[in-house]
Structure formats: structure tokens, C-alpha cells
Symmetry: C2
Subunit: 512 residues, 2 copies
């Protein structure tokens, strides 16, 4: 059994069953059996399935029940969880739209003749995807989060693992989703949930599994990646892992450091600091007294929240001790709530010289913990940035659009991170076409992948080229009549579909 | 020193120096130093560099010298090598065109305002790429082959390793390319060559290397993949590895089996069978006597050729013995040339029941060797296909466009291979927009990757999103004025550039 805990009290509030190895294999076999149908229906059909799931979780009585369960298991609070549920529904609809638009199929046709193209290429779904959702976003990155939604959109059945931080919510979400999918006509096996640590191992090693998507810690993600690499048939693992997301304050921005300090506190304490994009290191100009000023802002804000699990709470406490041992000094901390797994927001300062490759100071500390270091000059800043690991995101705090340091810092941080923000904090990941949520190793196990945004679908397909294949035997995406109305590349040129695309910059008509 | 051998005699014909570990590191450091310039110039500028290399190797005196060196080291014959050199030049120009067209950058802009987009995303080059070319295509897949051309096109400096099967050709090609690149204005460090086994190891482990591209055997590719996975900062390895590329003859196609037999012989003996896409297994209907008829065609054709190296020749001989030990019977073989590393084309037959996962019969035998098996019915064929490893390519030989078995076999083989050909043989890989040269594990170490075709560039970039970043500080690909004239996605919709794209199906003008 998996125990459900209340973080506010640190006591058990329920139990959910775990899944045996045989049940996991049977679940994956059902997913594999469903894979051909899920892959072969039109993307617009799968879009309807996703929209049905979105609608189901937004039903007022269901939403209310889900948020109540989630709050009891995560202590994230009703307002945050209500908006996160709405976000999960919006994401499901977004990936539905991306699937329907069809560019992700990259349909490409060379040398079409009367009987067949010389060569035609399309992305095909990989097959069943094992999804390991995150602890910290029970809706947005949980069993119905970005990974599940983008895998289903791309045409892959999903078997998700319940997160031990919210097993009851995982189970209820899966029930709601499975019912909605069935009612919408998706085949049995399209989506299922398993629970328990051993079930997770089987998910990665089973011959039925074609890919793994993971959101969480470096330790967890790399363990799954290693396990998959030991398979006879190695499968891709897309692990999106928490990082130290550096923030650089420019010299000219010191004039607005009080506002920056308030923003830093809001960002690193958001959700008890349990964000994979939490700013973990802030680099400010020497003499700015940034650590003290952020510490003062922290004490003024005095946020109060709980960690998701006892393990996370313990790791945050240990983490602060490790940061101190690595050369940092606690500048300010706010007491934790007296009951349960209370979080203790903490600002530390560290000498920039201590920021060396391999130091604990350059590893994530999951929780409301920020390390501040002061750099003397460009050289010292550049050296410190060169020591950092790859990151999901990085921010620059400037004095405004004409800050002379901005262009150089953007170029520098783009080499370290998957996303660079200017005068915004790294927390907060929009689900849009342009989003990149990933980054150089070890931010993700596959640096070209994103787990949020339209390109998230790309992880779960592979290309197949069809050579000299008669038109009528090609997949619909490549057929001469273009029944799915896809944007396609024909003989090297993009051809858009008028009712779908508005080619604002193109004035050429069909006869040109 | 690395020794150059003449396959026709099996004797040494020259020596080339190997590169010390210090030299390799210095070469990679120079590549890393060049990386920012190579990445930041306009794709059209890099296209000019590639075209300059193409022009340089096609200079008549240079081409003649290169082909002479290649023939002495590979015994592939002047006509094949002349056409392969022309192919290498055409490939360089193709990747230049793909870079210039710019879709590979996937420029995506969300929510553009007067000051900045909310979020804008573009692919950025990874950095120095280590290229391990193939033995069997000294021009097309060698030090200036698809991997080098696509990496340079994508904006990455390349350090290539000389192949021990053609060290002198590798060295001369590198000299010609380096001179052409320098004359065209590419920075020092854009392209360089190293030689020797130890140099290859350093190429993979150096902190300067951002990605590895490899073409060759499963053993070689997986060794590099494992080495890269042990790094502190793991880097992607795109290994395109030789496979058994199955060919299925339908029941209705038996009426034209003599033509198929002749085609099979031409395909599996092409270049002494030294193709990663060589058909290694042919499945024909029971009673067709396919093995005997292909054997007869082999004896009639009696092709004569040499292996590239003594190791390859020995492995082919060992391979036939291993296939026999695994249950196959030699049906027909043609004597090898009396001198040097002569190849002995061989047809074997095997009971379909012996085609079980893990059998040597389902592993590549590099050389002019084909295993033929007969299937009794759909069930037996389907079972055999289910035992196969992932493959680069697969072919179906049909009775014509109305063969009823074609659609089902296309769907089945698309699950196994990166390319499915109908009534054409798997050998021969066109460098076009729609090509896919890769496949499920172990055909490639990354199933979504191709080493040939426009998508080959995708291996060497990663996405970066810029959030709230002022227009003038964005990379050119994302600037409001679109200075590189790229096709871009703006607020979810593709926007093509009139002078570049003809949107044949779109009749909407700029004012719509």
C-alpha cells in the first residue's frame, strides 16, 4: 500500500494500493495493444480525446473534489490548486490544438509522380510512454500534466506512475481521465495508472515501453536514464530535472535592488520553493549588499508554507547544512510553521570564489532556499557562470531596455540554459508554441527536448520514410489528397493549408 | 603512425601520422574557440563555406588526385569513387541550401509587443561535433560526408577522425577542405582532422566536444555511446549503425522471382556488400525456391570485388561460419579474387524457425552475404518480423501496385525500420528533404535522428527560449525585422517569406 500524508500535520490520511509487477506488465500490454489505434487515428480525433479529459476535470463537482484531495495531500492551498487544475485543462487543450494543426508530423514529400512519391517522410508515434510526473505540480506536471498530454497528442498510449506525494489525487485523476477517454471513444489501454516504487522500475524495463518521460530530481531522473540504457533495446528517457537557475543582477540594476529583492523573495519562496525553475543562485554586483537586502525582504514577507513530503522537508534542512559546509553563511531565515513539514525560507550568502565546479553550492536545493554571491567585475562574473551546470532557466535583472550589459549576458546565459528571461523570474513556465523547458545536461537527459510547449510532442515520435510507395498505401499524412489538411513540405517547399494557416507574409496564389 | 593498405594486394602503401592526445585537445580547443563565430554568422554565410568546399573537391586536378588515393586505399574502383565524390559535393551543396532556407532554426515567436516578444525560441548550435566517418563511403560518409556537412550547416565546428581504412584520403580531403574554408572566410578551427584510435577516445571524452556523430558497426557505435554516457557532462551520440535490412517477397511477387533474384544479387553485392543498408535477410514464400534462384543469379553475375580492410575480410569469413553455426546452409558462393582481401559473395538459406531474437542470423554480416528464409504463411512471416532488430531500411517486393499484401507489410515494416521501400532495394540513400537514414534501436542510438537528409541538421542544435527579451538583443533569427528572411511561427501560425517560399495551396495575401 502507498500511504497518503497530510503535510500540515505530518500524519497519514489514507492508503492506496500499489501495482504488482504482473499488473504493470498487463497494463503495458494493454497499452501496446492500443498503440496501433491510438497512432493511426487522425490527430484531430486524439485532440477530441484530450479535450474530453480537460472538460471532465473541469466539471465543477469533479474539480472541487480533485482540489480538495490535492490540498490534503500537498498543502499547496486551494487558490493555487484551483488555478493549477485550470492550467492542466488548458494544457490538455493546447496539446490538442498542436496535434490538430499537424506540423509536428513534419510531412515531407519529394518527387511526387502519378503513382507514388520518390520518398515521403512522416513522424510516427513511438508506442507506450511511461510518465513519471512531478511532486510539485500535482495537476500541471502530474499524471495528466504536460508529459501525458503531449504523449497522447503525439499518438502514444500513456502509463503514468502515481507520485507518492499525492497518490490519492493521482488515482482519482486517472479514474476521471480513463472514463472521459472511454466515453470519447479512445480504445482501452490508451491511458492507465500504476503505483509503487517497484511498478516504476517495471515501467522502464518492460519490453512494451517505448519511451520514458520524467519530471523531478537529478537523482531520480538519472536513475531511470541508467536503467533504460541497460535494456537490450534501449529506449529514450526524457528526464527534466531540477537545476540551480541562476539570476544575474547587472551593475546598472542595483538602483532598483529593493524591487529586485522583493521579486526574488516572491520567486524563490513560491510554492515553498518547490519549483524546478526556482532561482537557486543570485549573482549581484559587489557592494550591493544584495544578500542582506533580500534577507530583509524575506523577513518582511515572512511567507509560511509546507513541504510536500517529509523527505523533501528533511532534504531542504540537510541542504542548508550542506550549503553552509560548502562555504555559504545563513543571512536570514523565517521560522517554519509549527506543525507538520513546515518549510523554512532561507537566504544565504557565499563568496563568489566558492562557486567552483562540483561544489554543493552549484547543485539544486529543492525548497525556499537562495544563495547570493557578489561579483567584483566582468571577469569574476564570467568565471562563475563558466562553473555552473546546465540549467532549465536563467534570468537577468537589468536597469531597463538600454542596459548595456544585457546583450552580452543574454548570449552568455543562452549557452547555459534552455530559457533566458529578462526582468522576469525563472519560475513560471507558459505552455505555448515558443516554450522551451529543458536545457543542457543535466537540466535534461536530452538537450534537444522540451517537456512543455508545442515541441514537447517531438519527443514521442520518430521519422519513417516511404520510398516508391504507392499513394494509396501511404499513411494519410502523406497521401496526395492530404486528408488531414496538414502543412507539408513538398519538393523542399512548405505548403500551407489555406483554412488552417494564414500566411501573412505571402501574397502568392494557387496558380503561381 | 597509421598504415595505408592496398586491399587488392593486402600490402602497405603508405603511412600517415596519428594525433597525440595533446594535439587532439588543442584541436578541440580551437574548435571551441571558433564555435561562437560559426554559430553566429548567418546560415547563408555558412552555406557559402560549404559550397566552397564542394567546389574545391570538384576541381578536376584535385578530384582526380582524391579518387586515385581513394581507389588505392579502398579498391572500390574509379567509376564508383568518381560518382561518390560528385555525391559528396552535391551533399555539401544540399546541406548549404537547407541551412539557407532556415526552417531548421524553427524560429517561433509568441505574443510580440512593441518592446519584446513574450517568448521567442530558436535552435542554437551545440558546439564542436566529433565526426567518426564510415569505412565504406570514403567520400559520401567520410570526413566530408553527411555528418560533417550537416554539422557545419547547423553551425557547429567539426573535428573529424580519419578512418583507418583510408587515412591518406582522409588527410588529403581535410587539407582541401581546410584551405577552402579558410579562403571562404571561415574562422580557424571550423574544421580539422585527427587520426588514430586514441585520438577517437579523446574526441569523445574531451570537455570541448558537444556531440558525436558516428557511422559504422554496432560494436563501434555502442562503444562510443557508452563512453559518452560515462562523462560528467553527458553529450549526445548519434550513431548510425549497420543492420540486417529485411526484404519481404510477397506471395504474388513469386511470378517475377527471377527478376527479384537478379535485383537481390545486385543489391547485396554492391560495393562488396559493404553497405549499412545491405539487404541481409530475404523472406520469400514457401516453395518459391528463392535461395536456389538467388544463388543461381549470383553465380551468373559472378561479381568480383575486394573488402576495404583485412579486418572486414576476416569478419565476413567468420560471419559466414557463424551464420552456418546458427542454422544457415551455404547455397551458393562465388570465389574471391586470388589476391589481397578478396570478397566471397555468398547466399545462405535458413529455416524461418531459426530466426529467433538473439540469433546470429538476425545480426549484420558486413559483406556480400545474404540469408534467405521461406515463410509458410502470414503467421510465420509476422512472427519472424517480430523477432528482428530495428533496421535502417526494409523492402517489400510486390507483384505491382495492386498487390493485396502491400499495405499490411508497409505498416508492419514501418514499425521496424526508418525507411520502407516498395519494389526498390534498401541500398542507396538519397540526400533529400524527406530522407530518413536511421531507425529504431540499434539502427541508431537516437531513434528520432537521421544522418542523411535535411533533418540531419536537427541533431546538432538545441532550443533556447528568450522570455521578455528586448527585440534588439534577440538573435537575428528572432528579431522583428527578420533579417535572415526565415520562415517563422508567429503566435502559432507559420509565416513564410514570399521570395523564399511558394505557398502553392495558399491564396491569402498580406492584408488578410
Amino acid at each position: 500500500m502507498e500511504i497518503s500524508w497530510d503535510p500540515r500535520t505530518g500524519t497519514p490520511v489514507g492508503e492506496t494500493p500499489t501495482t504488482s509487477a504482473e499488473q504493470v506488465e498487463a497494463t503495458l500490454a494493454a497499452a501496446a495493444a492500443a498503440a496501433r489505434v491510438v497512432a493511426s487515428v487522425a490527430p484531430g480525433q486524439r485532440a477530441e480525446w484530450l479535450r474530453a479529459v480537460a472538460e471532465a476535470i473541469e466539471q465543477p463537482d469533479v474539480a472541487s473534489e480533485l482540489v480538495t484531495i490535492a490540498d490534503r495531500e500537498t498543502a499547496l492551498g486551494l487558490p493555487r490548486l484551483q488555478s493549477e487544475l485550470a492550467r492542466a485543462a488548458a494544457q490538455l487543450r493546447f496539446y490538442a490544438d498542436v496535434a490538430e494543426e499537424g506540423s509536428y508530423l513534419r510531412a515531407t514529400i519529394d518527387g511526387r509522380t502519378a503513382t507514388s512519391p520518390d520518398l515521403a517522410r512522416v513522424q510516427v508515434p513511438l508506442g507506450p510512454v511511461a510518465v513519471f510526473g512531478a511532486s510539485n505540480f500535482p495537476f500541471g506536471f502530474g499524471v495528466l500534466g504536460n508529459d501525458t498530454a503531449s504523449a497522447l497528442a503525439a499518438g502514444c498510449p500513456v502509463v503514468a506512475k502515481a507520485h507518492p506525494a499525492h497518490p490519492q489525487l493521482s488515482a482519482r485523476l486517472a479514474e476521471v481521465a480513463a472514463a472521459a477517454l472511454a466515453a470519447a471513444g479512445a480504445p482501452a489501454g490508451t491511458f492507465a495508472l500504476v503505483a509503487g516504487f517497484a511498478a516504476g522500475t517495471t515501467l522502464v524495463t518492460s519490453r512494451h515501453t517505448a519511451a520514458v518521460a520524467f519530471t523531478g530530481s537529478q537523482r531520480g531522473g538519472l536513475a531511470l536514464w541508467r536503467l533504460a540504457n541497460e535494456r537490450e533495446v534501449v529506449i529514450p528517457v526524457f528526464a527534466e530535472m531540477g537545476t540551480v537557475n541562476p539570476v544575474v543582477v547587472t551593475r546598472a540594476a542595483v538602483v532598483r535592488l529593493d524591487a529586485i529583492a522583493a521579486g526574488a523573495v516572491a520567486s524563490f519562496t513560491l510554492g515553498a520553493g518547490q519549483f524546478c525553475t526556482k532561482p537557486g543562485l543570485l549573482l549581484a554586483p559587489a557592494g550591493s549588499k544584495a544578500a542582506a537586502r533580500i534577507g530583509a525582504a524575506l523577513e518582511a514577507a515572512a511567507p509560511s508554507a509546507w513541504h510536500l513530503t517529509g523527505d523533501i522537508a528533511a532534504a531542504a534542512t540537510t541542504g542548508v547544512a550542506e550549503l553552509t559546509a560548502a562555504g555559504a553563511t545563513v543571512v536570514s531565515e523565517v521560522p517554519a510553521p509549527a506543525t507538520g513539514w513546515g518549510a523554512r525560507p532561507t537566504v544565504l550568502s557565499a563568496p563568489v570564489a566558492a562557486l567552483t565546479r562540483g561544489s554543493r553550492l552549484l547543485e539544486e536545493c529543492f525548497g525556499p532556499v537562495l544563495v547570493v554571491a557578489e561579483y567584483a567585475d566582468d571577469k569574476e562574473l564570467d568565471h562563475a557562470l563558466g562553473e555552473l551546470q546546465g540549467a532549465l532557466a536563467a534570468s537577468i535583472m537589468t536597469s531597463g531596455a538600454d542596459d548595456p550589459e544585457t546583450p552580452g549576458l543574454i548570449a552568455r546565459l543562452a549557452g547555459l540554459a534552455g530559457r533566458v528571461a529578462v526582468d522576469e523570474w525563472p519560475t513560471g513556465v507558459a505552455w505555448t508554441w515558443a516554450q522551451q523547458h529543458g536545457g543542457p545536461w543535466p537540466a535534461t537527459s536530452a538537450p534537444g527536448a522540451t517537456s512543455v510547449g508545442a515541441a514537447a510532442l517531438d519527443r514521442f515520435t520518430r521519422p519513417v520514410a516511404f520510398q516508391n510507395t504507392p499513394h494509396h498505401t501511404l499513411p494519410p499524412a502523406l497521401q496526395a489528397a492530404n486528408p488531414w489538411r496538414l502543412p507539408r513540405r513538398v519538393d523542399g517547399r512548405m505548403v500551407l493549408v489555406p483554412d488552417v494557416d494564414e500566411t501573412a507574409a505571402s501574397g502568392r496564389g494557387p496558380s503561381s
